[in-house]
């Protein structure tokens, strides 16, 4: 079915309580805010009442794509927005797979899911057709198997996305993720728990439309497309992300001394561990396939093949397991794993049950240290002994986080900020703004990123990157804060278009303007884009403040000041001062 670019401004509203849906043209939003993060934050403002319980019927889920989706290479991401059950404020998570292409070519710029179902359901969205289907028979099934089942019963093979939750989402583990195309995730901030609270097991969306490029624009469109394609293929993105994948930087990060190891006992693991977990070693031993998101030639997704004996008598199983930089950190380094094989086995457990790998790893790392220090005992753990690198016990702990046999596991299911507030050990509970920390211990910028970033994600303002650029240079706190803020504001444009951050160097302001112009979206300028980035960033921050986020009350775990970074030891007073400067810059004086 043919449709025009502007028809993609449609928003599909789904009401799970009434099992009803409607489609509205929201040209007003897409004209002003492009799409993705920009449109999603506006829809969140409209649909999420102040102060709602994130796991209640009133919390909406918003999926949004953008004007470049399905039209240009590497514009391959979907933004999910909701109120986070983990942090209690802004929930925003991005994924690729086929999700963005499927939503756009089903004919939507965004999908808003409201209400809550009385029985388990999954949504089957095939173009304009929206069906609520009974998911009782797949409730309780792991995320991987759900995909396998729905692949068989729903149409649209090859041109659809299947977004689903595992058991962790059903049980509303606060850091449960939503899995997409088996190996991609809306990982962070608990979208899986929100879906679980709505009894929404899965969303299948298939494409049945294509977008018409106006005749007079076709030549221009192809020229701009080819320019972007050439740059995507020729920049370092290809080499950096395709060959070894994001795992390629593991060894160097450890060598630099910016890699949190064993709950940040140090920022560098022993040489043999770094070699074991290096992208080179994992690729040589386990890499079985590289895949990409729809409409991206890079292919950064790396899949490992793990063959294991699981019963005597030559009974082997072979599992395909996705691996990347962040999970090597969280489930490998943070947990003191000794072998890549154990790390892969743990990812498999986490993925099947459907939890965010970073939050899981950081929470387990805190629990291990707390157990070693005697704050947590076998009485809490239901008899389990926590030790670094014990993949068997960690797998059992993950099962118990979902089964919640006692109060300790109920608390563990609420994340490290919460569990440490109950049992102590906050000095080494590595969460920032309520979100478990990403990999980096590279300097002050990465922690300012974690503390002030709207999502408390390393991708908010890439502080880890700035830290590395600043090594050996003199700088003021104000310069660092200004650079981070500028980066985060600009990234709002990328996540509104929506292009993958890995292609951020390809999508310069100049190319974005050309790309929009060639599909009939005119009159954007670099200045207008920069202004919009600021507006979207402030809107996201306003949502956070509205929901209780407070710069003055940010907890900073002492541990980060006890371990040297590549810039030396950090000082709490510097970090506090920088947060103050940040507050002034965004008009929120502390």
């Amino acid at each position: 079915m043919l449709t025009k670019a502007k028809d993609m401004n449609r928003v599909l509203y789904i009401d799970l309580t009434k099992k009803d849906n409607k489609i509205e043209d929201r040209e007003d939003l897409f004209d002003e805010y492009l799409g993705g993060s920009g449109v999603a934050i506006k829809l969140l403002e409209e649909e999420c009442p102040k102060g709602v319980d994130p796991l209640s019927v009133s919390n909406p889920i918003i999926f949004a794509v953008g004007p470049l989706t399905a039209l240009y290479p590497s514009a391959s991401k979907t933004v999910a927005m909701f109120k986070s059950p983990l942090t209690g404020n802004l929930g925003e998570s991005h994924t690729g797979g086929r999700s963005a292409m499927a939503i756009k070519l089903a004919g939507y710029g965004a999908i808003v899911i409201k209400g809550s179902s009385d029985i388990p359901v999954y949504l089957a969205i095939h173009g304009d057709e929206v069906k609520f289907k009974d998911a009782s028979s797949i409730w309780g099934i792991e995320a991987v198997a759900v995909g396998r089942i729905l692949r068989e019963v729903e149409p649209g093979a090859g041109v659809r996305t299947i977004i689903r939750i595992g058991r962790a989402g059903e049980k509303q583990v606060r850091y449960a993720c939503a899995v997409c195309e088996t190996y991609r995730h809306f990982g962070r901030l608990g979208l899986g728990a929100v879906m679980g609270s709505k009894k929404l097991k899965a969303v299948v969306i298939s494409a049945d439309k294509s977008i018409e490029i106006p005749k007079e624009k076709r030549k221009e469109y192809k020229e701009v497309y080819d320019e972007i394609q050439d740059v995507v293929v020729e920049t370092d993105a290809m080499e950096k992300y395709h060959d070894l994948g994001t795992a390629g930087k593991i060894y160097d990060m450890n060598k630099l001394g910016g890699m949190a190891y064993k709950n940040l006992e140090s920022a560098s693991a022993p040489e043999e561990i770094a070699r074991e977990f290096s992208g080179e070693n994992i690729a040589q031993k386990y890499l079985s396939r590289r895949v990409s998101c729809a409409h991206c030639p890079v292919g950064c997704i790396h899949l490992a093949s793990l063959r294991e004996l699981y019963e005597p008598g030559y009974y082997f199983k072979t599992s395909t397991i996705p691996y990347d930089n962040e999970t090597i950190y969280a489930l490998g380094f943070m947990l003191g794993m000794k072998s890549a094989e154990d790390y892969l086995r743990l990812i498999d457990v986490v993925d099947r049950i459907g939890m965010d790998a970073i939050s899981t790893g950081v929470t387990l790392a805190w629990a291990t240290e707390a157990y070693e220090r005697g704050i947590i005992t076998k009485e809490h753990t239901d008899g389990l002994e926590f030790h670094w690198g014990d993949v068997q016990v960690y797998s059992e702990v993950i099962e118990k986080i979902v089964a919640m046999p006692n109060e300790f596991y109920q608390n563990l299911a609420k994340g490290v900020e919460h569990v440490s507030s109950v049992y102590g050990g906050q000095d080494y509970a590595l969460a920032f703004g309520g979100n478990e920390m990403p990999e980096y211990h590279t300097g002050i910028a990465c922690y300012l990123n974690n503390l002030t970033g709207a999502r408390h994600s390393h991708l908010d303002s890439a502080g880890y990157d700035l830290d590395q650029k600043l090594i050996g240079k003199e700088f003021t706190l104000e310069e660092v804060v200004r650079a981070l803020l500028k980066e985060e504001e600009w990234r709002q444009i990328l996540s509104s278009l929506v292009v993958c951050f890995f292609a951020r160097k390809v999508y310069s302001a100049e190319r974005i303007i050309k790309a929009l112009d060639a599909i009939g979206i005119e009159n954007w300028t670099e200045g207008k884009l920069e202004d919009l980035g600021r507006v979207i960033h402030r809107a996201k921050m306003d949502f956070k403040f509205r929901e209780g986020f407070d710069l003055a009350k940010l907890r900073i775990p002492k541990r980060i000041f006890e371990v040297p970074t590549p810039h030396g030891l950090l000082k709490e007073e510097d970090v506090r001062k920088a947060i103050e400067i940040y507050g002034e810059m965004i008009g929120r004086d502390i």
């Binding site: 977008i211 192809k222 396939r289 030639p297 292919g299």
Partner: protein, 137 residues
């Protein structure tokens, strides 16, 4: 020499679908509803991908079942569609056990590969490419 599209090495396919997008882009569309090449997983991404494209058969079954002569054999293999003669019966699509004849539901006509190679131009990983028909015969 006549050329045709070929899956050179399906193991190199990363499932990016750029070939599908390229094919529809030829007619000014973003999407793949006019595409004569398709990529899908072989029953789960861990099993790799299946590339479905016209093999430009010698003695093509699709042309044999066309009741109006709209599909005629191309010299060297494959077919050429004369849309004016096509009544949209769909026999050709049924006859292709490769599933390489797709359907244009807007116009009720088959989508048949034109062997232009535009899709292959965008296959960065060389999973598909153009080959001379004779070379493989």
């Amino acid at each position: 020499m006549a050329k045709k599209l070929a899956a050179l090495d399906v193991n190199k396919c990363i499932g990016c679908m750029e070939c599908m997008f390229a094919c529809s882009r030829r007619v000014g569309r973003g999407g793949f509803d006019k595409s004569a090449v398709r990529v899908r997983s072989a029953g789960g991404i861990e099993r790799g991908f299946v590339i479905v494209a016209c093999r430009a058969c010698e003695n093509p079954p699709c042309a044999k079942v066309c009741p109006t002569g709209a599909l005629r054999e191309r010299k060297g293999g494959g077919v050429i569609l004369n849309e004016d003669k096509c009544i949209g019966c769909g026999f050709c699509a049924q006859a292709c056990i490769m599933g390489a004849i797709f359907w244009d539901s807007e116009r009720n006509k088959p989508i048949v590969c034109k062997y232009c190679g535009e899709c292959a131009n965008y296959c960065v990983h060389n999973a598909i490419g153009m080959v001379e028909v004779k070379a493989e015969a």
